[in-house]
Chain length 249, copies 2
DNA sequence: CCCCAATGGTCTGGTTCCGGGCCATTGAAG
DNA sequence: CTTCAATGGCCCGGAACCAGACCATTGGGG
């Protein structure tokens, strides 16, 4: 046994995490809270927007209405959301993004721990690959217009909404790949880094730099130039990652 | 409202699938069966291998022992697995891969439906990105040896085990990125295509071609040449995808 | 002014799932 | 030969979760 154990251990560690990872991540309630919170923080729903009706939302999330309501109640108590009754009522977003704070950033990074490099690698592979895939795809006029509109939304964004519109821009590229799975994975990767990205102070110089890179990405994608799209995205993500590491150092 | 509705719909469809996807996919039992079956089909556990003990496995899968046992019972009835009691007992794999069959392939593809292109895109982005990421990373002697050993295992594989060792080779590249999330995603992407890939008849010519590509990938990764790793992987995946589409046409 | 449809708010019965304890079986070690 | 530890086999009480029905509130349309 003393000779076989190390081999078995190695074999399991090898990819036990990849195959034998948990089937169910904790309880449905917590998962639902997290999902809604991220939807709001990613800017899918902005301040004052109405969430889908409870019955509808519960069905989309594959969770019972009771569980969803418990999650909404939690968000309400946290001041993120506010229910209104009656016809044309609903659940409305009241969340306002807190001002960036380097202390928050360091704390968030500490919480992530070793998962930071993991998340950065994951995001890099997904977003670079998605940009290239989108560029190599024939895009409809609607799709082209949609991408450009996301870009102009972002460029005209008031500082308060910048992060959320930035997320929406990047998620839009994922959508253009035509692979729902890929789009979902990009959203998930971004969710993991979201608290970190949101905590980065916004300097005019960095925003201007990012805007150039965003434009380069869009140009390459619309031109159908996969290599250029990949390079532009690599550059953009590298800049963001460097910025992040800078504030953490 | 008649004017806002279309917008709301579009807004939701936009990425409702990405953010508001189901929190829980069906019941724990079915999910567990699927996971175990895929672990076996991906070759993580070969014929005659012993699975981790029930208590251990249940903990890894984040599921109760009863639920796991129900899943194992199902696999046993399907002839995939066989329990043995007593110390040094356990649950042993009895699954043998069925011979490739084009009819199976077409049926599996029909079951996937439109998700086929989705899965292929997803896999392409992940595996190409992973190969590049692995190449750009400093690899320990152990890691280099591990990759080479996976390659030689594959090259010396008896036909019966070829598919499973092929999966293990590709998953090993994911591991080399140092990103558990990425490795997991690669495993998941491969799982989706697994039934399809397993149903492809194995022709000597194709296997020889694949072997060349595998060697090129390993060479590039070990040489730290990210561009070459990416190109070699792109070529390999394109060939596989073309083969697949060929049998479906 | 009244009605109605859509929404959030509440309750209940039933199912799944979990946590943990206990038993039965087996083969290696002493 | 006996002991013992690790394993699969079994069972139960409680918690989580679900499906669905019903109530309360609201604002627009008739």
């Amino acid at each position: 046994m003393d000779e076989d154990e190390p081999l078995d251990r190695a074999r399991l560690d090898w990819q036990a995490g990849a195959i034998f990872r948990p089937v169910r991540t904790g309880n449905a309630f917590e998962e639902t809270v997290e999902r809604l919170l991220q939807a709001i923080k990613l800017g899918v729903f902005g301040l004052g927007d109405r969430l889908p009706a409870e019955r509808d939302l519960a069905a989309r999330l594959g969770v019972s209405r009771e569980t969803l309501r418990e999650a909404l109640r939690t968000l309400q108590q946290a001041g993120c959301v506010e229910p209104r009754r009656g016809r044309y009522g609903g659940t409305f977003v009241t969340y306002r993004m807190p001002a960036p704070d380097v202390a928050d950033l360091r704390r968030a990074a500490r919480d992530l721990g070793g998962a930071l490099e993991d998340a950065l690698t994951y995001r890099h592979v997904l977003e670079v690959g998605a940009a290239e895939a989108a560029a190599r795809r024939p895009l409809s006029p609607d799709q082209r217009a949609h991408l450009e509109s996301r870009l102009t939304d972002l460029e005209q964004a008031p500082q308060e909404q910048y992060r959320q519109l930035d997320s929406r821009f990047h998620l839009a590229i994922g959508e253009l790949t035509g692979s729902p799975t890929l789009a979902t994975a990009i959203a998930e990767a971004r969710m993991r880094l979201n608290d970190l990205l949101n905590a980065i102070p916004m300097l005019d110089r960095n925003i201007a730099h990012a805007a150039d890179q965003h434009r380069a990405m869009v140009r390459a994608i619309l031109a159908g130039d996969g290599d250029a799209a990949r390079r532009a995205t690599e550059e953009h993500l590298a800049a963001t990652a460097a910025l992040l590491r800078g504030f953490l150092a």
